[in-house]
């Protein structure tokens, strides 16, 4: 890995490509970029590199607490990792694709917006990202999300409730797609249901550290750790340089192409500090909304699956109701979130679930910067659309779970966050309602590509990172074909 630590050697240097961040958005873009010539590439990462051993010993994903990197007037937490590999360190590696309807919310249901690309546009890149992460999954999922390539790894072992649901509802209930290895591969151990994926003792989930460091070893790439990008400098239509803090010194480098892949709070903060603001920069911060629910089972044991979450149910996902309230995705858990069942001989007769509903994007929920340049979140709470999605899902749950011997369903509590910050530099065809175009290029600064979950047009219920990775690979691909043309 070509690490550069000396500010003096970097100052004034010119690079063909300057990439901000090493998380999902940036790393998958770099991966695809390196298939082309790519030129001289500089990667600027705010955090340090903490390998698996460090993270396990320190019970943390990074030495830099993310809570210190933003402020908010609302107690809702926004979770992320500042460090080499970004969110690949802390994620749980749940990797569903988005539903094809997620990309067409406005034209199908009259709410939200349409993405400027379709599921079909993204499909080949979903396959490539799944291949890099050795995703394990259920081939039957192709019924809902068509696929041109098989899952790289076989599906995880489902629980008994999953098997019953799948038998009764084969086109709705699937084994969870996940980058938690089903079989040991590419230096990663097999997932063995340790049930604490934020710090996986088996190193079974995909991370940049265990699955992608080779791209940073490429001789064309210079990586700078501890480099907090403060600003970009631009004229009316293009970015010329990036200014970052390294060891307390401001360093400026110039470049031809800039790729902004800090997260959905830090990326808009960089643009705002750079006076590259626009009416929508930082607006629309959102995430899906989740709750914990439990079903008491009569005579059926749970928890015999091979990973932390084993089932994903789409029975409440799509339909005309989305004009009125949010889609819901039901996650079947193979962990006892609320403890085993306290009844003699029936300790495993319980099914913990997470219900996650989609959210509508609200421009009032936003990222600003304080006078000292630190990101500040303004967030007003979940919308009535997503809350109604939750209450409707709860009401429909008894019918959904009919294949199981359910005695009782109990609402447990709201989840404080899904840890999925999204939507502050949205993608769209129209510059009046978006910040970047279908190729993820800034509508105004034509040599600035934005990657990461900040680019999401709308909020699917599904976990975002596979889509972040696929979008990045597509953006790099589009750029490559453009330069070839």
């Amino acid at each position: 890995m070509a690490l550069e630590t000396d500010p003096a050697r970097l100052a004034g240097e010119h690079f063909d490509v300057v990439i901000v961040g090493t998380g999902f958005g940036s790393a998958f873009f770099l991966h695809r970029l390196l298939r082309e010539n790519g030129g001289r590439i500089l990667v600027l990462e705010w955090g340090q590199r903490h390998d698996h051993q460090w993270q396990m010993e320190n019970e943390a994903n990074s030495a830099l607490p993310h809570q210190d990197t933003y402020r908010s007037q609302n107690p809702k937490p926004w979770n992320y990792t500042i460090g080499f590999g970004g969110g690949t360190n802390c994620w749980f590696a749940q990797t569903p694709r988005f539903h094809p309807s997620d990309f067409r919310l406005k034209s199908l249901y009259g709410v939200g917006a349409d993405w400027p690309i379709s599921y079909d546009d993204l499909e080949p890149y979903y396959g490539q990202a799944e291949s890099i992460m050795s995703v394990s999954g259920d081939p039957d999922m192709a019924a809902v999300m068509p696929r041109s390539t098989p899952f790289p790894q076989p599906a995880h072992h489902p629980t008994t409730p999953d098997r019953a649901m799948k038998a009764a509802r084969p086109s709705e209930h699937f084994i969870m797609p996940t980058a938690r290895a089903r079989v040991a591969a590419n230096g990663r151990g097999a997932c063995c249901a340790s049930l604490r994926c934020q710090l996986c003792p088996a190193d079974a989930k995909f991370t940049i550290n265990n699955g992608m460091t080779d791209i940073f070893d490429d001789p064309r790439v210079t990586l700078v750790l501890g480099a907090q990008v403060r600003t970009l400098e631009a004229d009316a239509s293009s970015v010329s340089s990036a200014v970052f803090d390294l060891d307390g010194k401001d360093v400026a480098v110039t470049g031809d192409l800039f790729v902004l892949g800090a997260n959905a709070i830090q990326s808009p903060a960089i643009l705002k500090r750079s006076a590259m603001d626009g009416p929508l920069v930082g607006r629309g911060l959102h995430e899906s909304y989740g709750t914990y629910v439990e079903a008491m089972l009569d005579g059926m044991d749970n928890f015999d699956g091979s990973t932390i979450t084993t089932g994903l149910n789409f029975g409440l996902y799509d339909g005309a109701f989305r004009s009125d309230y949010g889609a819901a995705l039901v996650y079947f858990e193979n962990r006892w979130t609320h403890g085993l069942r306290a009844e003699r001989g029936r300790h495993r007769q319980i099914l913990p679930m997470m219900i996650v509903t989609e959210e509508l994007v609200n421009d009032d929920d936003r990222v600003e910067i304080d006078e000292d340049g630190v990101a500040r979140v303004h967030y007003g709470g979940p919308s009535s659309y997503t809350k109604k999605g939750q209450s409707e899902a709860l009401a429909k749950l008894p019918k959904l779970l009919e294949p199981l011997p359910v005695e009782d369903i109990q609402f447990r509590r709201e989840r404080p966050t899904e840890s999925h910050l999204q939507g502050t530099l949205r993608m769209g065809a129209d510059p009046a309602s978006s910040v970047i175009d279908a190729d993820m290029i800034h509508h105004r600064y034509r040599n600035l590509v934005v990657v990461g979950s900040s680019t999401f047009t709308t909020c699917s219920c599904a976990n975002p990172s596979l889509t972040v990775a696929a979008l990045s690979m597509r953006a790099a691909d589009r750029l490559a074909s453009r330069s070839r043309a």
Binding site: V183, S194, A202, D304, S306, R344
Partner: protein, 148 residues
């Protein structure tokens, strides 16, 4: 045979990738006072089992490190509920204390199952149950991990 829990067993942990949370003997002893109600709950929800006090104290200590058992009037209410016939059912009906009681009994039961050899012994009442430590990796005793 009643096996004794050695200090080494407490601090270093058992074999096979099982790491024991660093337990000091004095901390274990201090937790014993709140242990009686925990014992009552465990015997009620697990069923009969044989276990040396020192081992059971270690289970309770692990539980209390995360979630101390209530003291004061809340603790008294809990002890009372476990002591009198129909007490647990009555407590379950009270929204606040009932919810807390459920959390405690489920948490204790889970800690017991995850830190002892109870499941390996197949729940046979005559078996000697011992504290085996907090397992970090591959911690689910129920997972089926047979290769595909």
């Amino acid at each position: 045979m009643k096996s004794e829990l050695s200090r080494r067993g407490l601090v270093v942990g058992a074999v096979g990738g099982v790491a024991v949370v660093g337990l000091g003997v004095s901390a274990v002893v201090a937790s014993v006072r709140s242990g009686d109600v925990a014992r009552a709950i465990l015997h009620r929800v697990v069923g009969p089992f044989r276990m040396a006090d020192t081992h059971l104290d270690a289970v309770i200590y692990v539980f209390e490190r995360r979630e101390p058992l209530p003291n004061g009037w809340k603790g008294a209410l809990l002890r009372l509920a476990e002591a009198i016939p129909g007490g647990v059912a009555a407590l379950a009906k009270a929204p606040g204390p009932g919810k807390r009681h459920e959390e405690i009994e489920r948490g204790l039961l889970t800690t017991f199952m995850m830190t002892t050899n109870y499941l390996e012994e197949g729940g046979v009442p005559a078996a000697e149950i011992v504290f085996t430590g907090v397992r970090d990796a591959c911690s689910s005793p129920f997972a089926v991990l047979t290769p595909p």
